[in-house]
């Protein structure tokens, strides 16, 4: 849709088909796994920056995986509900 073009107003939420749901869930899993690696790397880097060696980077990565996965799941369901 180009800018300036009037949007059609939605009257009802679109239906969710199974294939779209599976695709969105796959995207959620991919993002969560990526964020796990990002979290591990960030924890190691942040610990090195602070000069601390007692940081449990694996635990930080696991918590990052859970939190980002939950947030992505909520976002995917919201997107599915809005767009179908």
């Amino acid at each position: 849709m180009s800018l300036g073009q009037p949007r059609t107003r939605r009257t009802a939420l679109p239906a969710i088909d199974g294939r779209s749901l599976v695709t969105h869930l796959a995207g959620v899993g991919a993002i969560a796994v990526c964020m796990r690696f990002v979290g591990y790397a960030a924890a190691v880097s942040y610990g090195a920056w602070l000069g601390r060696k007692d940081i449990d980077a694996s635990k930080v990565a696991e918590q990052t995986f859970h939190i980002s996965g939950a947030l992505c799941l909520i976002g995917a369901l919201l997107l599915l509900t809005i767009r179908g």
Partner: protein, 130 residues
């Protein structure tokens, strides 16, 4: 290592700012994607970028600080247990990071402890400081 057991409800409450920031970013991303009619790949790329920003700048520093707080609390518990178990006959108070001996430092009485220390050890051992 001895770890404090934090109740899940307390943990969720203490992490509320982090969760709120994540939900805010996520809702903003969904609204922008819907308004601009992005396709799936565009949404995936944007979500990876926003997620990386969130994890690196907000989530990981918070979790690392949380671990630091846990370690500090654990150290306090360990020192308190140590004082209670091993030094209960010699030490009455542990205040402000200093070990205060009873009375004149040779045992003392309850009265001397309640009226405050008369003698403080000039240089407490490093392990007994918080």
């Amino acid at each position: 290592m001895h770890r404090l057991q934090v109740e899940p409800g307390v943990r969720v409450l203490s992490r509320l700012p982090v969760y709120a920031a994540g939900i805010g970013l996520m809702v903003a991303l969904v609204l922008v994607a819907d308004a601009r009619d992005w396709n799936g790949w565009q949404i995936l790329a944007a979500a990876l970028g926003v997620g990386t920003f969130y994890v690196v700048t907000i989530l990981v520093p918070w979790l690392v600080r949380e671990q630091d707080t846990d370690a500090t609390e654990t150290r306090k518990v360990l020192v308190a247990e140590f004082l209670r178990a091993d030094l209960s006959s010699e030490v009455r108070e542990f205040k402000g990071g200093w070990v205060v001996p009873l009375g004149d430092g040779n045992g003392g009485t309850h009265e001397s402890a309640t009226h405050g220390p008369e003698v403080m050890s000039p240089e407490p051992p490093l392990a007994l400081r918080t």
